[in-house]
């Protein structure tokens, strides 16, 4: 069984490499019972989305106060 520290490492790594089946199952089980890590995982999605907006120059313009 994963602890939260290990689960968050996998939440991060799944953005950088394909997880193994065993890792995917373990992470899924953990986030089903742990709200904090489920939040963490969603927030990793959000960070990636924000980074993509930035990378594409799609931040709100500076002159639309």
């Amino acid at each position: 069984m994963l602890n939260c520290r290990q689960a968050t490492q996998l939440c991060s790594e799944e953005r950088d490499r394909p997880l193994s089946l065993r890792e995917r199952v373990a992470l899924r089980l953990h986030t089903l019972i742990c709200d904090s890590c489920a939040n963490f995982r969603r927030q990793m999605d959000f960070l990636a989305l924000a980074a993509r907006r930035f990378r594409e120059g799609r931040r709100p313009d500076g002159d639309d106060e």
Binding site: N3, C4, R5, Q6, T8, Q9, S12, E13, R15, D16, R17, D35, S36, C37, N39, F40, R42, Q43, M44, F46, L47, A48, L49, A50, A51, R53, F54, R55, E56, G57, R58, R59, P60, D61, G62, D63
Partner: protein, 206 residues
């Protein structure tokens, strides 16, 4: 020197004083400066990207397309710069823990690996709406700036420049495992910073 193709003779028509171009330039500088942490290098990268964009200006359709496209060019200029200078960063510096690394990730967790009460990630209310708010991005920039330099460098190569971890490892001469640990550290710190400084208002206890 430039080629002698007649296409090059076309006079550039971008108006550098157009407020939209000035705003674009400012956004580009922010993007470049965050990653290069050197004003001169950031100015150079932005200038080169704008010139390249102007030279091939038939390739875009409208203003939003221009922006995305110019940022793609800028991204490549930054990658070029980082490649040229990657060797100047001693690998031992990158791999080193502690020192400038700020609060260690271990401090967020109890001995048994569970979240400490004060560091549990809370639910963020409607995070996507934050992306259209300028103040949010100011907080985002500040949070990225607060990352330890080496952690920030790896994070930005991965997320802003969209490089794969393999390539990052090669450029910086670190192992994949090390790279994943640094990315975890960066994302965790960034998440925490955003929660404390932007999403913290959410009154819901976990």
């Amino acid at each position: 020197m430039t080629s002698d193709s007649p296409a090059d003779a076309k006079p550039p028509s971008l108006d550098w004083n157009d407020p939209a171009i000035l705003a674009l330039r400012r956004d580009m500088l922010k993007f470049a400066h965050l990653q290069l942490r050197d004003e001169g290098a950031a100015e150079d990268a932005v200038q080169e990207a704008l010139i390249a964009a102007m030279r091939h200006r038939d390739g875009f359709a409208g203003r939003s397309a221009l922006k995305t496209w110019v940022f793609a060019i800028l991204r490549n200029k930054i990658i070029d710069h980082l490649r040229k200078h990657a060797r100047e960063i001693p690998a031992s510096d990158l791999a080193r823990r502690g020192d400038d690394e700020g609060p260690d990730i271990e401090q967020l967790f109890e001995q048994d690996g569970h979240w400490t009460t004060q560091d549990k990630p809370h639910t963020w209310a409607d995070p996507e709406s934050a992306l259209s708010q300028k103040q949010f991005w100011a907080v985002f920039d500040a949070c990225v700036n607060h990352l330890p330099a080496n952690t920030a460098r790896v994070f930005m190569m991965r997320e802003f420049l969209d490089l794969g971890t393999e390539e990052i490892c090669q450029e910086l001469a670190i192992t994949s495992a090390n790279c994943w640990v640094m990315l975890h550290r960066a994302r965790t710190a960034l998440r925490r910073c955003l929660e404390n400084n932007w999403f913290g208002g959410a009154p819901k206890p976990c």
